[in-house]
């Protein structure tokens, strides 16, 4: 059984359909990029996969013992966070909130886990620093560490490289690839960057209010829609 799959799923808000005919399955260890123009429904699909919204029709299934709250989610940064007083450790530790159960405080295991993920992201020396004083790339590493703390087998990343310079973007892609291959973590990433998607991902899901393509990255390059999108040069449109 697939780790996560959609069957003829339709998503929307207040009864208005934003995204239809979503049909894919992803297995453990795979790396899927969700491509599409602005407003194509990429973030809506992520919310659907996280069960923050329910499909209007069709189903979202999770399998292989994955629980809904065990997905490591990395949302786009919000305005509140830019000036939020919190240390790197406090932010990463909050990723363990789903393993607290009814306990009011974090255990030593939670704290060890947070330390370990911070180290893994190369942020050890910044652990006690304030989140708001970090650079854009460092902030994203912290949010990635937090997502790792929450993740059992699956991570959902919503445009993790938005607003980063090319060097930081490249570093972050490498980190995500390492997480995917070394930790056997399944990755679903929303992206604008078709070239990076084809370089790193095993699968591509292309959306434009409906599913235009789902398959392996190799097949995507050969497909008509893939060729068209790559020639469109929509590598960076911000």
């Amino acid at each position: 059984m697939a780790l996560i799959s959609c069957e003829k799923a339709t998503f929307g808000y207040d009864g208005e359909i934003v995204l239809s005919d979503i049909d894919f399955s992803l297995y453990g260890g795979e790396y899927m990029c969700i491509l599409g123009e602005n407003g194509a429904g990429k973030s809506t699909l992520v919310k659907g996969l996280l069960k923050l919204i329910n499909p209007i029709s069709g189903t979202v299934n999770i399998g292989e013992g994955l629980k809904a709250h065990e997905m490591g989610y990395m949302p786009q940064q919000t305005a509140i966070q830019k000036n939020f007083p919190a240390s790197v450790f406090e932010v990463v530790l909050s990723g363990r909130i789903n393993s607290m159960g009814l306990r009011p405080f974090y255990s030593q295991k939670d704290k060890d886990e947070a330390h370990e993920k911070i180290k893994l992201m190369g942020m050890k020396e910044y652990e006690k620093k304030s989140y708001q004083e970090l650079s854009g790339g460092q902030k994203q590493r912290v949010l990635l560490a937090r997502a790792l703390c929450a993740a059992g087998k699956l991570m959902l990343l919503d445009e993790p490289t938005a607003g980063l310079d090319p060097v930081a973007t490249g570093d972050l892609y490498e980190l995500i690839k390492n997480i995917n291959s070394n930790m056997n973590m399944t990755v679903i990433m929303v992206s604008h960057d078709v070239h990076a998607a084809l370089k790193y991902a095993s699968h591509i899901l292309h959306l434009s209010h409906r599913q235009l393509f789902f398959g392996t990255a190799e097949d995507y390059i050969k497909s008509g829609i893939g060729k068209e999108f790559m020639e469109g040069g929509t590598g960076y449109d911000y």
Binding site: P75, T78, P85, S94, I97, M100, P104, F105
Partner: protein, 279 residues
């Protein structure tokens, strides 16, 4: 001179009561303030204090116990205001203004039709350290301790909810519950604090210490601790000034808070400037 003042203050039982309740209310409001300020809910305190005023006017007209009317009414309004989402018919800040102004108008209307403007009403608006009898004091102490205990138990979840609501929801936290927890704690704090501080000034106890602390420290736990310390110190300083200068107590505390906030803002600006020069 300070020792004389301290001796003088502690020779009056009502002043001792005022100190105990004031310190506890300052502590509660400063803890909640950090979350409310960071979530851009600063004006909710202001709105709720006006709701509290309206509710107290109703209680006075009905000869009911003030807290038994004001607490439930404020809780309902707080939950309503904190749970308003973007895209509601009326935007959050406008909704606060509507609720706040209508409660104030309603309160004034009821007062003018029943007893007329008297010292009680004046005290609700501007606060009075004479307002607390010993039964009130016991209730205030008990409620404050409950608020502090609930806050500590939910500390980590309130942090997660404040820092990133979407992430918290995605990882299985029922964020609706925490916005209600925050709303209820805020409402109760305001009701127990407003009789001493006054409806017009109680919200500053929520906003000022948090804003000051955010300028002094940049990690969450330290901000919370600083906020609590600033709040208590400003309260005590305000009480001394009020006692010595025979000034209204609520206004004295707010002015001390304002002064500390301005000093902290300058210090923060200077530190940032030096940091940039170095970098």
């Amino acid at each position: 001179m300070i020792i004389d003042t301290v001796n003088a203050i502690f020779s009056y039982p009502f002043l001792i009561r005022a100190f105990i309740v004031g310190i506890l209310v300052s502590l509660c409001s400063s803890l909640l303030g950090v979350s409310l300020v960071m979530k851009r809910y600063s004006m909710i305190g202001d709105g709720l204090s006006h709701v509290g005023f309206g509710a107290l006017a109703v209680a006075a007209a009905l000869n009911a116990a003030p807290l038994s009317v004001a607490v439930p009414v404020c809780i309902v309004c707080a939950v309503f205001l904190l749970r308003l989402k973007d895209g509601s018919i009326v935007a959050g800040d406008a909704a606060i203004a509507i609720v706040s102004n209508s409660s104030l108008a309603l309160g004034i209307m009821i007062i003018s039709m029943s007893s007329g403007m008297n010292t009680d009403v004046y005290n609700y608006m501007f606060g009075s350290i004479l307002a607390l009898n010993s039964a009130d004091t016991v209730i205030c102490i008990a409620v404050s301790i409950i608020i502090i205990a609930v806050y500590i138990l939910f500390y980590n979840r309130i942090f997660s909810f404040t820092f990133d609501e979407v992430f918290a929801r995605a990882t299985g936290t029922n964020t609706g519950v925490y916005s209600i927890v925050l709303a209820v704690l805020t409402a109760v704090t305001i009701v127990i604090g407003m009789r001493m501080m006054g409806a017009l000034l109680i919200s500053s106890l929520i906003i000022f210490p948090a804003l000051t602390a955010i300028r002094i420290r940049k990690t969450y736990k330290k901000v919370i601790v600083i906020s609590a310390l600033v709040s208590i110190i400003c309260f005590v300083a305000g009480m001394f000034i009020s006692f010595n200068a025979e000034a209204p107590v609520g206004a004295s505390i707010v002015i001390v808070n304002l002064a500390v906030f301005i000093i902290a803002s300058f210090a923060d600006a200077i530190r940032k400037f030096i940091g940039q020069r170095r970098a």
